[in-house]
């Protein structure tokens, strides 16, 4: 499949939506790309020999052994079942020791209305490899009453590093249920950034990382903006299954009238786990609801788990301060919300930082 196809494969009027989920059509700033529309894998290509990327069906065909070695295994570790009626999804494997500096991009696009897109992705980072992956999930205006179910399994082998950024750009009536599990081996790091600023009917997810090897680390960071009539029930869970593991969960939630449930769960099943969970929320509209549910759990004494949560309205004093510099109340409020939804909390690679900041600015500008 040719690289130039990317632009032709997406309808002209859907392009902005896809771009708003972090995709670069030119592919120039990406090491590899994948595109699935509804249930069809329409494109994949890699410009970097250390990165394998293909549709999951093609991957089963090319490498039959991955079905046994990886498929469903991350969920099995959690003793959790997952939907088996998926169609498509991506397979990404970064070869041992490769340091991939440009991000890989994967785009899952919902085009049809009343369609159930169900994908199952497998991401493998081999020993000592480093990679950034940005996944953009979006829906055309027509696909208003559709459902997206994205299942992802991440395997980060010894000393590997995966920085995964997922940007959701849905429509008002789309329902979304991502399910993901990451197995992080000895000395490996899993960073998961989640950004959801556009309207959506419902997002329910509780991605989980299992720190299965000594010294493994995980970090979950999310920026959530909730529009009237929506529910975002979003958590992050880290299971410390080996000694000396570390994690951090950070979320910023702003409700413009919708309901946000910000969950977090740190579970220490081994000694010397160290982790912090932080949730900050701003309720802008009277109708907005934010419910922070932080959970800390340990089987051992020798752990260091902490959390802090703060939710409330924007402080009047801050608004007044900005007004006393000449901003109108509306402008001051927007400046504070934009500052609160700071992309700096995401552990983004430099190449993506400005890009995502611009995306966020644009989305917030139209929302506030």
């Amino acid at each position: 499949m040719e690289k130039k196809d990317f632009t032709k494969l997406i309808d002209e009027r859907d392009k902005n939506i896809v771009v708003s989920s972090g995709m670069d059509f030119s592919g120039k700033t990406r090491s590899a790309s994948f595109l699935q529309q509804d249930n069809k894998v329409v494109l994949y290509n890699s410009l970097f020999k250390g990165v394998e990327i293909m549709g999951i069906q093609d991957a089963f065909h090319t490498y039959p052994e991955i079905r046994k070695r990886y498929w469903g295994n991350a969920f099995a570790k959690l003793k959790k079942d997952y939907p088996h009626d998926t169609e498509g999804g991506y397979f990404i494997r970064v070869k041992k020791g490769e340091n991939v500096t440009l991000p890989i991009q994967a785009c899952l696009f919902l085009k049809k209305n009343k369609f159930n897109q169900k994908v199952h992705n497998i991401i493998i980072v081999e020993e000592g490899a480093r990679v950034y992956l940005i996944t953009g999930c979006s829906a055309s205006r027509a696909a208003n009453e559709s459902l997206h179910l994205g299942i992802s399994e991440f395997f980060i082998h010894k000393d590997g590093y995966l920085n995964f950024t997922m940007i959701h750009s849905w429509q008002e009536d789309v329902r979304v249920k991502p399910m993901s599990a990451a197995i992080v081996e000895e000395g490996a790091t899993f960073v998961s950034n989640y950004v959801c600023l556009k309207p959506v009917r419902e997002v329910i997810m509780y991605p989980t990382a299992v720190l299965s090897g000594k010294g493994a680390r995980a970090s979950f960071n999310s920026l959530l903006l909730s529009h009237p009539g929506s529910l975002q029930d979003i958590g992050s869970r880290v299971i410390f299954a080996s000694p000396d593991t570390q994690a951090e969960i950070v979320s910023r939630a702003v409700s413009l009238g919708g309901r946000i449930i910000a969950r977090g769960h740190l579970k220490a099943e081994a000694v010397s786990a160290k982790a912090h969970l932080e949730c900050r929320g701003l309720v802008i509209s009277e109708r907005g609801i934010i419910h922070a549910v932080p959970e800390l759990e340990t089987d051992f004494r020798d752990v260091d788990l902490s959390h802090e949560a703060a939710i409330g309205k924007i402080s009047k004093e801050e608004i007044e301060y900005l007004c006393s510099r000449g901003m109108t109340k509306a402008k001051a409020q927007s400046v504070i919300i934009r500052g609160f939804m700071n992309v700096d909390i995401l552990a983004l690679p430099k190449v993506l930082q400005q890009e995502i900041k611009n995306l966020e600015d644009k989305t917030l500008e139209s929302s506030l």
Binding site: E318, Y321, S324, G326, T328, V335, R338, G339, D344
Partner: protein, 240 residues
């Protein structure tokens, strides 16, 4: 520039300011002395239009316009500018972002940041983890970029070390002099008097203005004898 007539102000139904009369002409600097809790900050915040201060009587006039019912930002647009004594932290909003909002003059932003040793602060959140002195310098920095005609300064030198008082004092004086700006300055330490050319001072006690005079002479008396002396001399002798 600024005229206050018979101003009385309440906070939560408690009368704080009583019949204040004050005039500050263009290019004039007025120093406001007074013990803690006498109402000085209330006066400045009421002039600025900040929340929680209820005017029950009187008028605040800026450039011949009654501003009693104007919003904070409308007063700023008229030419008022405030320097907070305890400014809030604005998480996620960079000092540089604010500087760009206040002035399109990139060169001025850079020069002022250099002069006030705030270069590294430009990329930091406003007031977040700033020391007392840094906060004051950042306030002055923003105020100069805002370029108001009448400055309301609430203890600009409190929490600032001697070296930085001198730095700030010079920058402030230069600004005031250059375009003959007006200012109302609250001070407890009096250090600011060494830098700005103030001809008038007044003392506020129990929500009233007690006297007007030469600020340096007034400060000398207050420094030596405390505000008790103001109570004794009130109505008998004046500083001028």
């Amino acid at each position: 520039m600024l005229e206050i007539n018979n101003l009385s102000v309440e906070i939560e139904n408690r009368l704080i300011l009583r019949n204040i009369n004050l005039t500050i002409k263009k290019g004039e600097i007025m120093i406001l002395f007074g013990p803690n809790g006498s109402g000085k900050t209330t006066l400045i915040k009421t002039i600025m239009g900040l929340g929680g201060y209820k005017i029950i009587n009187g008028e605040i006039i800026v450039k011949n316009k009654i501003v009693n019912n104007l919003s904070v930002e409308e007063r700023v647009w008229l030419g008022l500018g405030i320097m907070y004594q305890h400014p809030p932290k604005i998480r996620g909003v960079k000092l540089y972002q604010m500087a760009k909002f206040l002035s399109s003059n990139e060169k001025l932003i850079k020069t002022m940041a250099d002069k006030l040793s705030l270069h590294t602060h430009l990329s930091r959140d406003i007031n977040l983890d700033y020391s007392g002195g840094e906060m004051k310098r950042a306030e002055l920095f923003q105020l100069i970029l805002q370029n108001p005609d009448c400055l309301l300064l609430d203890e600009p030198e409190s929490g600032v070390d001697i070296e930085n008082i001198s730095l700030m004092g010079k920058v402030l004086n230069n600004y005031l002099q250059k375009e003959s700006k007006s200012a109302l300055i609250i001070t407890h330490t009096g250090y600011i008097l060494d830098y700005v050319k103030a001809k008038k001072g007044c003392v506020m006690m129990e929500g009233k203005l007690w006297c007007v005079g030469n600020p340096k002479e007034m400060f000398e008396v207050i420094r030596k004898k405390g505000y008790e002396e103001c109570k004794v001399c009130h109505g008998e002798k004046r500083f001028y």
